[in-house]
C-alpha cells in the first residue's frame, strides 16, 4: 500500500490548497468524531487518456449522493488523486460509487483484473479514520510540506510576509530596548517560584518503562510575559530576548541555590544558561552550592549562543566539565539539529524539539539520514523534547532516540515518582 507523496509534473490547480485543507481538517478532527472511512483514489495511475478533465469530474460525480448531504468531503491532490472522507454509516453508498468507477474505467489496465470488488483493486486504498489516523495525518503532512517547499518565494513576497507578521496585532508589539529595561526591572521584583516549572527527561528502556534521567527546572516565559508585559511580543527580537534570558538565568540560579531542595539534588536537574552566564560571578556562587554533587547538574545552552563567541564557549565548557557538570545543547529544530554534533561540540546531550513533520519522514531518505546521525552520536545522546503524544515517542524510537521529555512524558512520569 502506497502512502508515498506523489507530485505530478503538472500539478492540479486546486491541489495545493486542497492538500492544505485536508491536513487542517484532519488535525481539527477530534478523536470522538473519527467514525469515518477514507478512500484514496489513485487517479494518477490511470492511463493519460482516461485522465482528462471529464473523466476526473466523473470521479467527483459518483460521490455526489454523499457530498450533497455533506456526509462526505472530497480533496483533490496535486497529482489529481482524490481523497474521499465519508461517514461510516454511508459505507455501502461509498462502495457502490466505487463499483461505478471501476465499471467506468474497466478497459484501463489498472482496473482490468480487479473490477468486481469495491475495496480490493488497484484504483483505491481504503482506510479507517480511527485505526489509520496517524498514517493519514503523516501522509497529509508530507503532502502539504512538499507542496510548500515547491513554491519558492520572491524577495517582495518574503518582505511582505515579514511585515505582515511584524504588524499582526495578536502577536503584540515588538520588544524595544526601553521595554526590555522595564521588564528587567520588573523581573527583579517578581517572585519567580510561581512561574517555575519542572519537566523530567526520561529514558525509555526496552520494556517501555520510563526512568527519570534528570529534571529540567525552567521558568515559563509565556506565563511570565502574561504577567509582566502582556502586550509585548518578547521573542520578536531575538537579540533583546537573549539578553532577557540572561537576566532570567541569574535569577533562577539564585532561586535554586536558596531553596535547598534536596529532591533536586538527588534526582539530578538541569537549568538553562547562556555562555555569558557561566562566565559570571553569579554562576561561581551557584557552583559553590552545587559543584560537589554536580555530576547530577546539566547545563542547557543554545546552539546559537555557543557560536556567538566560540572561544568563550570552549572556555566555559571546559571549565564546567572540569567541575563535573554536563552540557546539553538546547532548542534544536529539524533544521539546526545536523549542526549540533555533541562530539564536535564536546557536550553530552543534544535536545531536539518534536515536530509533527517528523512523523512524515520515517522511511524516507531524510529519515534515514537522521537515524544515522543519531546513531553516530551515541556518545552525545539525543533527547526528543516537547513530546505531547505517544506518536512522538514512537517516531522518536524509530529514529533510535531513547531519551524523551514533554507533556506526554510528564503524565507517564507521575506514575513512577
Amino acid at each position: 500500500m502506497s502512502m508515498e507523496p506523489q507530485i505530478g509534473t503538472a500539478a492540479h490547480p486546486l491541489g495545493a490548497s486542497h492538500e492544505a485543507r485536508f491536513l487542517d481538517d484532519l488535525k481539527s478532527l477530534d478523536p470522538g468524531s473519527r467514525d469515518r472511512g477514507v478512500i484514496r483514489l489513485h487517479l494518477s495511475r490511470l492511463l493519460p487518456e482516461n485522465r482528462d478533465k471529464d473523466s476526473l469530474r466523473n470521479a467527483e460525480t459518483v460521490f455526489e449522493d454523499l457530498t450533497r448531504t455533506r456526509t462526505a468531503q472530497l480533496y483533490r491532490m496535486r497529482n489529481s488523486d482524490l481523497m474521499v472522507v465519508f461517514e461510516n454509516h454511508e459505507t455501502a453508498t461509498a462502495e457502490r460509487a466505487m463499483l461505478k468507477l471501476l465499471k467506468l474505467w474497466e478497459r484501463d489496465p489498472l482496473i482490468a483484473k480487479f473490477k468486481s470488488d469495491a475495496r480490493k483493486n488497484r484504483l483505491s486504498n481504503w482506510f479507517d479514520m480511527k485505526s489509520d489516523y496517524d498514517k493519514l495525518l503523516t501522509f497529509a503532512m508530507r503532502q502539504a510540506a512538499s507542496s510548500e517547499k515547491s513554491v519558492r518565494k520572491t524577495l517582495p513576497e518574503l518582505i511582505a510576509a515579514r511585515e505582515l507578521l511584524r504588524n499582526s496585532p495578536e502577536r503584540g508589539t515588538p520588544l524595544t530596548p526601553t521595554e526590555l529595561g522595564k521588564a528587567e526591572d520588573a523581573l527583579a521584583r517578581v517572585d519567580l517560584s510561581s512561574f517555575t516549572r519542572r519537566q523530567p527527561v526520561c529514558a525509555f528502556v526496552e520494556d517501555g518503562k520510563p526512568e527519570i534521567v534528570f529534571t529540567e527546572v525552567f521558568v515559563s516565559i509565556a506565563d511570565l510575559r502574561e504577567t509582566l508585559m502582556p502586550r509585548t511580543n518578547l521573542t520578536s527580537n531575538p537579540w533583546l530576548f537573549q539578553r532577557f534570558t540572561q537576566t532570567l538565568d541569574r535569577r533562577v540560579m539564585a532561586q535554586i541555590a536558596r531553596r535547598e531542595d534536596r529532591t533536586l539534588v538527588r534526582d539530578g536537574f538541569s537549568i538553562n544558561v547562556n555562555v555569558s552566564t557561566v562566565l559570571s560571578e553569579e554562576f561561581l556562587s551557584f557552583d559553590d552550592d552545587f559543584a560537589p554533587s554536580s555530576q547530577d547538574v546539566v547545563l542547557e545552552m543554545r546552539l546559537e549562543d555557543m557560536f556567538a563567541d566560540p572561544g568563550s564557549f570552549a572556555f566555559a565548557r571546559d571549565f564546567v566539565t572540569e567541575r563535573g557538570y554536563r552540557v546539553c545543547i538546547d532548542g534544536l529544530s529539524l533544521e539546526t539539529f545536523p549542526f549540533a554534533d555533541p562530539n564536535r561540540l564536546g557536550v553530552t546531550y543534544a535536545k531536539l524539539s518534536w515536530a509533527q513533520e517528523m512523523g512524515a519522514f520515517i522511511g524516507t531518505e531524510q529519515g534515514q539520514r537522521f537515524k544515522e546521525m543519531i546513531r553516530e552520536r551515541k556518545k552525545g545522546r539525543t533527547i526528543l523534547a516537547r513530546c505531547d503524544s505517544e506518536a512522538a515517542v514512537k517516531v522518536g524510537q524509530q529514529l533510535g532516540i531513547t531519551l524523551f521529555q514533554g507533556r506526554y512524558i510528564d503524565a507517564l512520569a507521575r506514575g513512577i515518582r
Binding site: R162, T178, W239, L240, L303, G311, F313, A314, F315, F319
Partner: protein, 403 residues
Amino acid sequence: MNQGARGYQETLLVDTLDRMRRNPEGRKVVHLRLSKLLPANRTPVRIKIVTRMFRTLESGRQVQIFSLTNDDLAMIVGGGAQRDVNNIIHRIRKLFEGDPLTLDDDQGNDRFVVWYDLQLDAAMAIHAAQQLRQEAQGTQPDATAPPLPTVTPAALDEIHKKLAFLNVVPFVRDQVAIRLDAETKAPSIEFYEFFLSVGDLQRVVAPNWNLFGDRSLFQDLSRTMDLRMLDIVLRHPDARGAPTLSLNLNLETIFTPAFASFLERLEQGQKVIIEVQAVDLLTNFNMYLDARNVLSSMGHAVLIDGLSTSALAMLDVALMKPDYAKIIWAPELLDMMDPATNQSAAFIVHNIGAEKVILSRCDSANALQWGLKTGISVFQGHFLDAYRKKAPAPQARANRLKQ
C-alpha cells in the same frame, strides 16, 4: 600591614618563602603568569575560575595560593600535591589554548608557567617574589580613566534614534578582498567590503557608553546600522562601478523594504555578497535558507563571516552550503593541518570548497603561504592592503555593459 594594602599578597609570599627556605621539605613554588594572557582572555571572571580550580587542594594544607596584584597566581606546593597541581595546570593550558602565551617561546621555554624547587632555587624564587612585590607596590591604582559603563537597555533607544538621523557617510570604511593567481601570484581585486567604523560611530552617538560590553544589545543596535548602511553605501566612490561589493548585515535586514530599494539602486550587473554571522544564521536558520535562495536567484550571494578556528572545529560549515565562507587567519590553523583527522583545517577547507573560502585578517606572509597551499586564492587583511595599489582597478563590467 593590612590585607587591603598594596602588595599585601606579594609581601606574604616573600615572607612565607623566606621562612621556608631553611626547611623546604620538597616544596616547590609555581608562578602562573596570567597577566601575560591576551586582554580578552584575562577577564576577572576567568582569573577567578582559574584560581578556583586550585581551591579544593588548599584544604589539605598542601597548597597555599597567592592571588597577586597583576592577576598572576603563585602557589607553594607540598610534595604530595605537585601531581595534582600539574594536572590542573595542564587543564588550564587547554582553557587558554588559543592564547599565544601557552605556546613555548623560540628557545623552547615555557612562558606561562614557571616552577621553582625550594630545595635548589629558593634564592631565585624569593628574588622573583620580591620583584613582584616591588611592582605591586609601585602600581598606581586608578592611574587610567575609568572604563566606560556598558550600555543599558534604557539608554539604547536614544542611541538608535540618534543613529537613525545621523549622516553616516563619514563613517563608511572599505577593505578589498584580493585574489592571487595560483600560478603567477598576480593580484586582482575580487570585491570591496563596506562597513561602518563602529569605534568612530560610538564616539559620536554614545560618547559615554561602551557599546560592545553587551553582545545582545550591540547586535540590536546593528539592526539600525544596517538600514543606515543600505541607505548610503552606494554613494561611496569605491562602490561606484565595483563589479562586486560585500556588506555585513543581519539576516532580517534582507527582508526589509530598505534592502529591496538598495538592490534597485545597484548598477546593472553589479553583484552583492551579504556577510552574515554564524550566530545570526543559527538563530534564524529558515531566514538563512530563504536569503540564500532569494539572493542566488537574483545573482547575489551569501557569505558566512568570522569563522575562527574554534568555530571551524565545532561547526560543519560545509553542511550549511554557503556561497562563501570567511575564515579568520590564526597561526593555530597550521597546527590543524594533520590531514589524518577530519577536523584538520585542510580537510574543512576542502569540504567547504577552497574556491568559496576567503582567508581574512592576513597579517603575514605565513597566512598567504598557508592559504595558497590549502587551495585558497582570495585573501583579506592588512598584509594585503599593499596589493590594493598594485592590483588592477576593478574592471567596471557594470559600466561596460551599459555602453
